[in-house]
């Protein structure tokens, strides 16, 4: 059986009587068939003005779908505007029913009050107010966590030890490969760049000092901290955010469980314990990265390299680095949990919470670095 080719859709516009316009629709008006564009049809109707009535004839119409409905809706709307009476009798019954249905419920006038576009100063103002509110929320959260932590130290905090074990595993051993890789690379980069400059002074033997002190005092902590912000901070935010969306946190509250004690404390504890260990590991990997550049590539002596490293890196540097990593671990957990608990009630809100957690985590790491550096300077470490 041969396929019927679609009839070419066509529209004729003509005058029936002096003030009546008839519009004859013929052929196949479905999507996929060649149809006159809506604009053209409307122009032809407009060109035939003035007329008082508009009548349709669809006897030769073989098929229609939403495309025809939208065109007819435009014609009807335009006619109403001009005060022209429209007679839908000539249209197929299905078309008439659908058009009646679509116009049955008038559009809700104030369904959504369009937000007036704020001027520049208005936006600056509302952003400033939002900033103040978020600063308060942050302070409140830090306070609640401090109270929960105090209860924890007193041994009266209530959370599941299974949760703590899980988070220790997630934030610690699972993170080792990437921490190793990143810190190794940082060590390599520092050594490469360092040697290139030190050679100018014949001082390339001090590359061990450079890599050692830089990694141990600052770089391992910062790189690992940023890694954790992306890896763990986002995870915490997503976990808590999804719980928020599912009303699981409400369920905890109504059952008398403090969400901060139950959810935040084990996470905070886990990252605070694991970060210094990861940082230590990162220190070693960084020094090894430097070794790779100094010894096999630039031909320095291996023993010399390690001796210089040990001499240069004193306990002070080590403790500063480990202290910073402890602080960063806590900040990352706090940022992740805060954004998770502040999460809105939709899937996109969870995404925003995860993003915000990473940004907040990284920003607070940088601010903390600055503060700690100033402090160390003042103390003279």
């Amino acid at each position: 059986m041969s396929e019927r080719l679609p009839d070419r859709a066509d529209v004729q516009v003509g005058r029936a009587a002096d003030d009546t316009l008839f519009v004859q629709l013929a052929g196949d008006w479905r999507d996929g068939a060649a149809r006159p564009p809506a604009g053209e049809v409307l122009d032809r109707i407009r060109a035939a003005r003035p007329f008082r009535r508009l009548v349709f004839d669809a006897s030769a119409l073989t098929g229609w779908d939403s495309g025809l409905l939208t065109l007819l809706a435009r014609i009807v709307r335009g006619s109403e505007r001009e005060g022209v009476q429209v007679d839908l009798e000539g249209l197929p019954a299905g078309v008439r029913t659908l058009m009646a249905l679509a116009t049955a419920v008038p559009p809700k006038e104030d369904a959504r009050t369009p937000e007036p576009r704020e001027g520049f100063f208005a936006r600056v103002g509302s952003d400033a107010l939002a900033f103040v509110t978020s600063a308060f929320e942050l302070a409140a959260f830090v306070g609640e966590t401090a109270v929960a932590a105090a209860r924890g130290l007193a041994g009266r905090a209530r959370f599941r030890s299974g949760d703590l074990a899980l988070f220790l595993q997630e934030t610690g051993p699972r993170a080792v490969p990437i921490v190793a890789l990143i810190n190794f690379l940082v060590g390599v980069i520092l050594a490469f760049v360092g040697i290139a400059q030190l050679r100018l002074f014949g001082a390339q033997v001090y590359v061990a000092d450079l890599v050692g002190v830089a990694m141990v005092r600052e770089m391992a902590a910062i790189m690992t901290g940023i890694l954790m912000a992306g890896r763990t901070g986002a995870a915490f935010a997503a976990q808590l955010g999804t719980m928020q969306v599912n009303e699981e946190i409400d369920a905890l509250r109504t059952l008398g469980v403090d969400p901060v004690e139950f959810l935040v404390l084990p996470r905070l504890l886990a990252t605070s314990l694991m970060m210094p260990l990861l940082c230590l590991f990162g220190d070693v990997m960084g020094v090894l990265g430097g070794w790779l550049v100094a010894v096999p590539v630039y031909g320095q002596g291996s023993t010399l390299y390690f001796n210089r490293t040990i001499e240069a890196v004193g306990l002070a540097h080590l403790f500063v680095g480990l202290f910073m990593s402890l602080v960063f671990g806590a900040l990352v957990a706090l940022a992740g949990c805060l954004r998770g608990l502040q999460c809105g009630r939709s899937a996109s809100a969870v995404g925003e919470a995860a993003t915000a957690a990473v940004v907040t985590g990284i920003v607070s790491i940088i601010v903390a670095t600055a503060l700690i550096t100033v402090m160390c300077d003042a103390i003279g470490i």
Binding site: N246, E247, E248, A251, R253, T254, L255, G256
Partner: protein
């Protein structure tokens, strides 16, 4: 010994999100043993009202009293103790997704009672059996159907033998047979535990069959426009909005409703 939790007296309650008023001037009383229905069209603020009653959101004005205690004037400890006397079934169950059903039901008991693990396990098995989920204790919420999650949520809501049970749309998403079973369960719990039930719903069949008292919320006027037994409202109310709601928009002459 501990202060009675019923009746729940709500006076001049106004609920708002920031500057936007959701509902105002609500005054009603839930008596002991009532199956109290909070009903109204979509968007009238039923779930918001529920959140204010169970202690999740503070009202903009007015008071919520449990017996003699004002929920929102009380200290956080008193409020916490009060909140433990009720059980809440959230829409969808709100089970903690990283814990099994047994762990979900056990957690309130572990935190608020001095029972040992063996006793808790026994009670958990009992609660799960009451809702027809015997043997499903080791399943995770993601491994069971929506209806089963609701039932598990109910088991958890009952964990501490509460005096008041709050249900947020218990029949939503359930097929007619399961919805009827849920209704029967609610009635059986009320009768056997002597609990008071507050039900947020717009399932006509359920609320007409179960409800002994109600409050009807109107989204247009943003306040309550009726109260009392839903069946009485169906037969006696002259308000066209209430009639349209309770009769699903059909004319009063058609009679046979649930």
């Amino acid at each position: 010994m501990s202060a009675p939790v019923t009746p729940i007296t709500v006076r001049n309650l106004t609920l708002a999100y920031g500057g936007f008023v959701v509902l105002r001037d609500l005054t009603f009383t839930v008596q002991r043993g009532d199956i109290f229905v909070i009903m109204g069209g979509s968007g009238c603020g039923k779930s918001t009202l529920l959140r204010h009653l169970i202690g999740l959101q503070a009202p903009a004005a007015g008071e919520v009293r449990y017996g003699d205690t004002n929920l929102w004037d009380a200290s956080p400890e008193t409020r916490g103790r009060l909140m433990r006397r009720f059980g809440v079934l959230y829409q969808g169950g709100a089970l903690w997704s990283s814990m099994t059903l047994a762990e979900n039901v056990a957690l309130p008991m572990q935190l608020h009672t001095a029972l040992g693990p063996a006793e808790i396990a026994e009670r958990v098995a009992l609660k799960l059996a009451l809702v027809g989920l015997s043997g499903f204790g080791d399943f995770l919420p993601s491994e069971i159907s929506g209806g089963m999650r609701k039932r598990a949520g109910l088991a958890r809501a009952m964990a501490l033998d509460p005096d008041i049970l709050f249900f947020d749309e218990p029949s939503a998403g359930l097929d007619p047979v399961s919805a009827k079973r849920m209704d029967d369960l609610i009635r059986a719990l009320r009768d056997s535990l002597g609990a008071t039930v507050v039900l947020v719903t717009h399932e006509l069949a359920s609320l007409l069959a179960l409800g002994t008292n109600s409050v009807f919320l109107d989204p247009e006027s943003r306040t309550m426009i009726a109260g009392g037994r839903p069946r009485d409202l169906l037969e006696g109310s002259r308000d066209p909005r209430i009639q349209a709601f309770l009769r699903r928009g059909e004319s009063a002459a058609s009679g046979a409703v649930a």
